[in-house]
C-alpha cells in the first residue's frame, strides 16, 4: 500500500515536471510562429521602428489584401496539384520498393540499398542543370509537370530508407503464416504489410508533404511564368533589387503555412489510428 502511494506521488511529480518542460518547449515553438503572424499585420516602417517583437498598432489586413490581389490563388492551386500527385506517386512506389528491401533476400539488395543512400547524399544544387536540360528536352519546362519528377525522386531515398526500417519491425511470423495459407508475395503485400505500415506512411506523407510544399530550388529553376509557379515563389513579387517588403512576405508565408497545419491535424489522427493497427497485430 505504502509503496503504491509513493509510486503514485512520484509519478504525479514526474508528470508535473514533464508538463512544465513541455510547456517551455511549447513556447519555444509557438512564439516564432506568433511573431510571424504578428509582423504580417504591420507596415514595414512600423515593424522596423517599433521592433519586430512588438504587437502591431492595428490589425488592419492591408498586407493580406495586397497579397490576394497579386493573384496568390493560382500559385496555391499549382502547389496543391503538385503536392497531391507527387505524394500519391511517391507513397505508392515507395511502399512497393520498401517491401522487398525489408522482407526479401535477393542478390542486388545491397546494391539497391547503396543506390538509395547515394540518392540521399547527392546535393540538390548539382542536379539543377541536368534536370533543367531534361525538362526542356521533354517539353515540360515551365509547367507543373516538370516539378513532379524531381519532387518524387528526391523524396524517394529518404522515404524508402524510413519505410524499409519501419517494415522490418513487422514480425516475420505474420507473413509466414499467411504464406502457408497460400498467399503469394503480392497478396501478402497488399493485405498484410500495407495495412500494418499505415503509421509509417502517414509519417512520410507529413514529412514529404511539408518539404514538397516548401520546395524552392527546383520550383525556381523549372518554372518561370505564372502558369506554373508554386507558392514558395509567391514571395518574389515583394522582393525587388534593393528592397523587400518584409511584412507582406510574412503574410504570404502565413497563408502558405495554414493549409499544412490543417493537413497535419488531419494526418496526425492517422498516426493514432496506426496505434490501433499496432494493437491488432500483437
Amino acid at each position: 500500500m505504502d509503496k503504491y502511494v509513493k509510486e503514485k506521488i512520484k509519478s504525479r511529480a514526474a508528470w508535473a515536471v514533464a508538463f512544465i518542460l513541455a510547456s517551455v518547449w511549447f513556447l519555444a515553438t509557438v512564439l516564432p510562429f506568433i511573431y510571424m503572424v504578428m509582423n504580417s499585420f504591420k507596415g514595414q516602417f512600423e515593424m522596423l521602428k517599433k521592433g519586430v517583437f512588438q504587437l502591431p498598432d492595428s490589425w488592419y489586413p492591408a498586407n493580406y489584401i495586397d497579397v490576394l490581389q497579386k493573384g496568390i490563388s493560382s500559385y496555391f492551386i499549382h502547389s496543391v496539384i503538385v503536392l497531391v500527385i507527387s505524394l500519391a506517386i511517391l507513397l505508392s512506389i515507395t511502399a512497393c520498393a520498401s517491401y522487398p528491401l525489408s522482407r526479401m533476400r535477393f542478390k542486388l539488395r545491397n546494391a539497391v540499398y547503396a543506390l538509395i543512400v547515394a540518392g540521399m547524399s547527392i546535393p540538390i544544387h548539382v542536379t539543377l542543370i541536368p534536370i533543367f536540360k531534361m525538362s526542356t528536352k521533354l517539353g515540360v519546362y515551365d509547367s507543373i509537370w516538370a516539378l513532379i519528377g524531381p519532387y518524387v525522386t528526391f523524396t524517394i531515398p529518404i522515404s524508402c530508407y524510413i519505410l524499409t526500417s519501419f517494415m522490418a519491425t513487422i514480425p516475420k511470423e505474420v507473413e509466414e503464416s499467411a504464406e502457408i495459407d497460400g498467399c503469394n508475395k503480392f497478396r501478402n503485400f497488399f493485405s498484410i504489410i500495407l495495412p500494418l505500415s499505415k503509421s509509417g506512411l502517414s509519417t512520410l506523407a507529413i514529412y514529404n508533404g511539408v518539404s514538397i510544399w516548401n520546395e524552392f530550388s527546383f520550383a525556381n529553376t523549372l518554372t518561370q511564368s505564372k502558369r506554373a509557379k508554386t507558392l514558395p515563389l509567391a514571395i518574389q513579387s515583394f522582393q525587388g533589387e534593393y528592397t523587400m517588403n518584409i511584412p507582406v512576405i510574412m503574410a504570404v508565408l502565413v497563408l502558405t503555412v495554414l493549409p499544412m497545419i490543417a493537413l497535419f491535424i488531419v494526418l496526425q489522427d492517422k498516426l493514432v489510428k496506426g496505434l490501433m493497427a499496432g494493437a491488432v497485430k500483437g
Binding site: P100, A114, I131
Partner: protein, 300 residues
C-alpha cells in the same frame, strides 16, 4: 530433389516480386539521380565557367586542388560539427517529446500540433525572425546575459559561435520531424506489450527504459543516419543566416559548392566540390550504418 526445386521456385518468385516492386523506384532514380551524379563527376574533370561552350579537360587537376583546399576542409569540419551537434541535440529531445506525446495520448494533442510548427515555417521566415531574436542588441541571449550582469553577446557575427547559433536554430527546426518519426515508432509497439509490462508492476520509467527504448532502437538508428546525411549536405539556414560568414568561417560544403558553381563562374571546380562532398557523405553514411548494424541486428 523436390526440396531443391521448391527452393528454386521460391527464389525465382522472390526475384520476380522484387523486380516488379523495385523497378519504378530504380527507374526514377536512374534518370534523376544517377545521371546528375555521373555528369557532376564528368564536369569535375574540366575547367569550365559553367556557361561557355568550351570546357577544357584538365583531368584530375581540380581534384588535386580540392585535396589541398583549406576552405573546403574547413567547411567539411563545420559539417562534421553540425552533424555531431544535430544528433546530440535533436535525437534525445525528439525521443523525449515523442515519449511525452505517446504517454499523454489525446489530451496533449495541442502540444503535438504546436511542436510541429517549426518544421512548417519556411527558411525565409526563420532566418528573418532569428536574425532579430539573436541580435547583439535586443536579442534574447543578450537580454538574458544582461539580466545576469553580463555584456552583449554577438552570436551571428563571430566565428565559431555563429555556427553554433545556427546549429541551435536547425535543431529547433528539425526536431519536430524526428519527433513525429519516433511517435510513429511508438505506435508500432503493441498496446498488449505495454499493458503486460504495466500489469507486471513496472513503472512508466521502467517501461520506457526496458521495453520501449530497445524496441525503438532501430527507428532511432535510422533517424541518426538520416540526421547524419542531412547535416553533411545541409545548406538552407547557413546560407540565409550567415551566408558562410564572417569571411568563410561558417561555410558548409554545400554553401561553398554553391558559391563556386553559381556565383564565381567556377562550375568545374564547383562540381569537384560537389562530387567530393558526395563521396564523403555516402562513405561516412555507409560506414556509420555498418557500425550501427554490428551493434544491433534487429534491422534485417
Amino acid at each position: 530433389m523436390d526440396n531443391v526445386s521448391l527452393l528454386n521456385s521460391r527464389q525465382k518468385s522472390t526475384r520476380i516480386a522484387a523486380t516488379v516492386f523495385l523497378s519504378p523506384v530504380i527507374l526514377l532514380m536512374l534518370i534523376y539521380i544517377i545521371y546528375p551524379i555521373f555528369s557532376t563527376f564528368e564536369i569535375s574533370l574540366n575547367e569550365w565557367n559553367g556557361i561557355s561552350a568550351n570546357k577544357v579537360f584538365v583531368g584530375l587537376e581540380n581534384w588535386k586542388t580540392l585535396v589541398k583546399d583549406e576552405v573546403f576542409w574547413k567547411a567539411f569540419l563545420n559539417n562534421i560539427i553540425l552533424m555531431v551537434c544535430s544528433i546530440l541535440l535533436q535525437m534525445p529531445l525528439a525521443v523525449a517529446l515523442a515519449t511525452f506525446l505517446d504517454a499523454g495520448g489525446k489530451k496533449v494533442n495541442i502540444y503535438k500540433v504546436a511542436w510541429f510548427l517549426p518544421l512548417l515555417m519556411s527558411s525565409v521566415a526563420i532566418g528573418f525572425l532569428f536574425s532579430y531574436a539573436l541580435a547583439t542588441t535586443g536579442g534574447i541571449v543578450t537580454t538574458i546575459s544582461q539580466a545576469f550582469g553580463g555584456g552583449k553577446v554577438d552570436l551571428l557575427g563571430r566565428a565559431p559561435q555563429a555556427l553554433y547559433a545556427v546549429i541551435f536554430v536547425v535543431a529547433w527546426q528539425y526536431t519536430p520531424f524526428y519527433m513525429i518519426y519516433f511517435l510513429a515508432g511508438y505506435s508500432n509497439i503493441s498496446i498488449d506489450i505495454y499493458e503486460a509490462t504495466i500489469i507486471d508492476g513496472a513503472t512508466r520509467g521502467q517501461y520506457f527504459r526496458h521495453v520501449a527504448l530497445p524496441l525503438l532502437r532501430p527507428v532511432i538508428y535510422t533517424a541518426c543516419i538520416l540526421s547524419l546525411i542531412g547535416s553533411l549536405k545541409y545548406f538552407d539556414l547557413i546560407y540565409v543566416m550567415t551566408g558562410g560568414g564572417p569571411g568563410t568561417a561558417t561555410d558548409l560544403m554545400a554553401t561553398y559548392m554553391y558559391k563556386m558553381s553559381f556565383k564565381t563562374f567556377r562550375m568545374g571546380y564547383g562540381s569537384t566540390v560537389a562530387a567530393g562532398m558526395f563521396v564523403l557523405v555516402t562513405g561516412i553514411a555507409l560506414v556509420i550504418q555498418r557500425l550501427l548494424k554490428v551493434r544491433d541486428s534487429v534491422d534485417g
